[in-house]
């Protein structure tokens, strides 16, 4: 019996996505159910931040970093401030470093709540786990609002430290959060990790091999899900991360489910760090005074952090003027997309959506 020949047809996924990844367009060519080619079309959110940053002083560029990865503004701020401090040779006081660590880890928990919630949403659960995780994210955003006035685009870190010291009502709130959040994470694990439907949707889907992961410069939970124990906080400690005791969760198979459980466990480890930082939080100033138009010595600097999406780095080039000569963002979501085509070819569309959800991209960071 001859095979029925059907021509391949092109389906557009996006740019208006029902999932909350942003304006991201994926043109897949389907042969029946299987994807035979996937092409990304980016640039719907391109705001030319790298060019704009060349016309603003180093301090004026900090709000840009809020809006790149808008779901993890604190870590964006932090990476940029570290790069500027490395370029200019500025020291950060201890209290500033501890506060930076606390807020970066809180931001990691909030971003992973969003990532995991939307991942299970892509798998089909009608927002129920998303709403549960948003409960905790709301508490963290309330803490941000208490400190710097904004929930999403926090603009909290400054070159030389942080912008404000924490108010008095912040301490009981964060202690309550640190006390209750481990139970919540345990609840998510109990409810979700044994669900056969979730396993059926995400096990052995979108498997990434370790050699390919390293060769494609992936980072973050994508790399750790493949079994490679690499974390910039451990390998290249910035701020005061070398003083804290925490573990790196590592997956087994490199599929979507592994990335999901890696993110869940990272939330728990972040809570460990926050707890330790709170007990040892020193007093003192929160930032070093830095001139309004900072003029670093001519040179280049690359500083990186472990953001919730992966390795976020800033490459700054200074020519002695008040503005950067070159401002480049090594954005983890953009580079993690290198593997998307290889992961999705051969899957069906439902699996491609699940794989895209597990990569945890943020289009603000991709397009800049």
């Amino acid at each position: 019996m001859t095979e029925l020949h059907t021509p391949p047809y092109v389906v557009n996924i996006g740019p208006q996505h029902p999932s909350t990844h942003g304006v991201f367009r994926l043109k897949v060519t389907l042969d029946g159910e299987r994807i035979i080619d996937a092409e990304m079309v980016l640039g719907y959110l391109h705001r030319s931040m790298e060019k704009l940053a060349e016309e603003r002083t180093f301090t004026q560029n900090i709000p840009f970093t809020d809006r790149m990865d808008y779901l993890a503004a604190m870590t964006g701020n932090l990476a940029y401030c570290l790069a500027a401090e490395k370029l200019a040779g500025i020291e950060v006081p201890e209290r500033g470093s501890y506060l930076r660590v606390i807020f970066a880890e809180l931001q990691r928990i909030a971003s992973h709540c969003m990532a995991n919630g939307t991942f299970v949403n892509d798998c089909g659960a009608w927002q129920t786990p998303l709403m549960y995780m948003f409960r905790d994210r709301e508490k963290i955003l309330d803490l941000f609002e208490m400190t710097c006035g904004a929930r999403l685009t926090t603009n909290y870190m400054r070159i030389g430290g942080v912008a404000f010291d924490v108010p008095d009502e912040w301490y009981p709130a964060i202690k309550a959060l640190v006390a209750e959040l481990p139970d919540r994470i345990a609840e998510y694990e109990e409810l979700l990790l044994d669900s056969e439907i979730l396993l059926a949707r995400s096990r052995d889907i979108g498997v990434l091999k370790p050699e390919a992961a390293i060769n494609a410069s992936t980072s973050g939970p994508l790399l750790r899900g493949c079994g490679i124990a690499w974390d910039v906080r451990k390998a290249d400690p910035y701020c005061v991360y070398d003083r804290f005791d925490f573990d790196i969760p590592v997956g087994h198979n490199g599929d979507c489910f592994d990335r999901f459980i890696v993110r869940l466990e990272e939330m728990r480890q972040s809570l460990r760090i926050v707890g330790q930082a709170l007990t040892h939080l020193p007093g003192g100033p929160v930032s070093t005074p830095v001139p309004l138009a900072l003029r670093p010595e001519p040179g280049e600097a690359y500083a990186r952090i472990e953001s919730p999406k992966g390795e976020l780095g800033f490459y700054l080039v200074s020519d002695g003027g008040p503005t950067p000569y070159r401002f480049h963002v090594r954005s983890p979501s953009y580079i993690n997309l290198s593997v998307l085509k290889d992961l999705t070819v051969g899957l069906s569309i439902a699996d491609a959506i699940v794989t895209l959800g597990s990569l945890d991209i943020n289009v603000g960071e991709i397009d800049r």
Binding site: E196, A200, R203, P210, I214, I261
Partner: protein
């Protein structure tokens, strides 16, 4: 114990006032008038229930799913959001009615109506009280199964008439799923029929009342099979690829706007009630509640049971993720159909032994125990077989304290 008073004002059976009316009509007019009036009254009553049920279900679904998701449901429109369905209906009615120019003009308007008809007709054969049955068909169960097939046909017409390649794809998937899940559905509904010896629904309910045992306790496996198969037939989560397909490829009702879409949505809710009604009648005793139906109106008990199972359906929707189409087909063909066939063998054997050997009715108690054990065994075995591959790898991460990256070779020549 207050028996039925048989007075016309005893609303515990709504047949009482109606009987008074029939007697009056029979005395004063021709017999055909009574026939017509009885048809009209019954139809109006059932349609009232269907209409109010659709409205109530919209509200119930949204509030209950809201509560499952740790939030309140709609609570702005009216007290506790009770007028939300009315607002939804008004919104849908006043929307622009779009019809694609390339769509099949005659067939395009048919599906919303066609899909609503079987939903309404299902309620005709239910036994709401001992003497409240609209259509006392001898083949009630067969009638119900026949109606559920028309729905999938209407959905396919909707997908075809839209002239939209993605709607057609969604509709074809629904057909594949509906056809696959009808086999375990039919086999599961066959089990009570075998025990009772009749397809007549009031007879089945009476049997459960007579033997004082619900068929659900006697036949747990068909209940579970029917629950899963009916959820798939209804296109509800976890089997809602038809409508949630609109996340990725548009579902079969993309091209329908306004009240046409509203009808599709309402049909899903009314079908949920119908399925709950079938479950309640055939397996859970219908209007009887171990004697309580002598005190309370039986039709209220029956409606209560319908809403109890509908709550179960909402619960499933709120908590479970969705299965892929090929996983759904695997579930139907590899798990439900073998289970249903095994179940029929067991049930037929039991009924044969009971009837032919003329054993006492206490053998039913033994059957309850035997069937419970066999259900647990078979469902557990199938479950293990199918889901074994998910437990191959550990489902928790490995915690590492220090970084360690093995020196892996780069994909050298392969990366050219």
């Amino acid at each position: 114990m207050i028996p039925f008073l048989d007075a016309w004002y005893d609303l515990r059976s709504l047949a009482n006032p109606v009987r008074e009316l029939y007697d009056w009509l029979r005395d004063n007019t021709a017999d055909e008038v009574v026939y017509v009036v009885s048809a009209v009254i019954g139809a109006v009553a059932i349609l009232t229930f269907v209409g109010l049920g659709a409205l109530a279900n919209v509200w119930l679904e949204r509030r209950i799913i809201g509560r499952i998701q740790v939030r309140r449901g709609p609570n702005r429109v009216g007290p506790f959001g009770l007028l939300q369905p009315v607002a939804d209906a008004i919104k849908l009615i006043q929307k622009e009615v779009l019809q694609p120019r390339a769509s099949d003009a005659k067939l395009f308007n048919l599906p919303p109506i066609l899909v609503f008809i079987p939903a309404m007709l299902t309620f005709a054969v239910f036994a709401w009280a001992p003497d409240m049955v609209y259509a006392n068909l001898n083949v009630g169960v067969l009638y119900l199964l026949a109606l559920s097939s028309i729905t999938s046909l209407a959905i396919f017409i909707a997908g075809w008439a839209s002239n939209n390649k993605y709607a057609l794809l969604g509709a074809m998937r629904v057909i594949a799923m509906a056809v696959s899940y009808e086999i375990p559905l039919v086999l599961a509904l066959l089990s009570p029929v075998l025990f009772v010896g009749s397809m007549n629904i009031p007879t089945i309910v009476d049997w459960q009342r007579h033997y004082d045992v619900w068929l659900a306790f006697l036949l747990p496996m068909p209940v579970l099979i029917y629950a899963v198969a009916a959820t798939a037939e209804l296109n509800r989560t976890p089997a809602d690829i038809a409508e949630a397909e609109s996340e990725i490829i548009a579902g079969f009702h993309t091209e329908y706007s306004g009240m046409k879409f509203g009808l599709f949505y309402a049909v899903e809710l009314v079908n949920s009630l119908a399925v709950s009604g079938i479950m309640a009648s055939l397996f859970f005793g219908g209007y009887s509640l171990y004697g309580l139906d002598e005190w309370l109106p039986p039709w209220l008990i029956f409606i209560g049971k319908i809403y109890f199972f509908y709550f179960g359906l909402i619960w499933l929707r709120g908590t479970l993720p969705r299965l892929r189409i090929d996983q759904l087909m695997a579930l139907a063909w590899k798990m439900l159909i073998p289970l249903a066939l095994i179940n029929i063998c067991i049930v037929a054997t039991e009924v044969l032994l009971w009837r032919e050997l003329e054993l006492t009715d206490w053998v039913l108690a033994a059957y309850i125990a035997i069937n419970a054990v066999l259900t647990v065994f078979f469902i557990g075995a199938f479950f293990r077989l199918i889901t074994a591959r998910f437990y191959r790898l550990p489902r928790r991460v490995r915690l590492v304290h220090d970084i360690s990256v093995p020196s892996l070779p780069a994909p050298g020549a392969a990366a050219q």
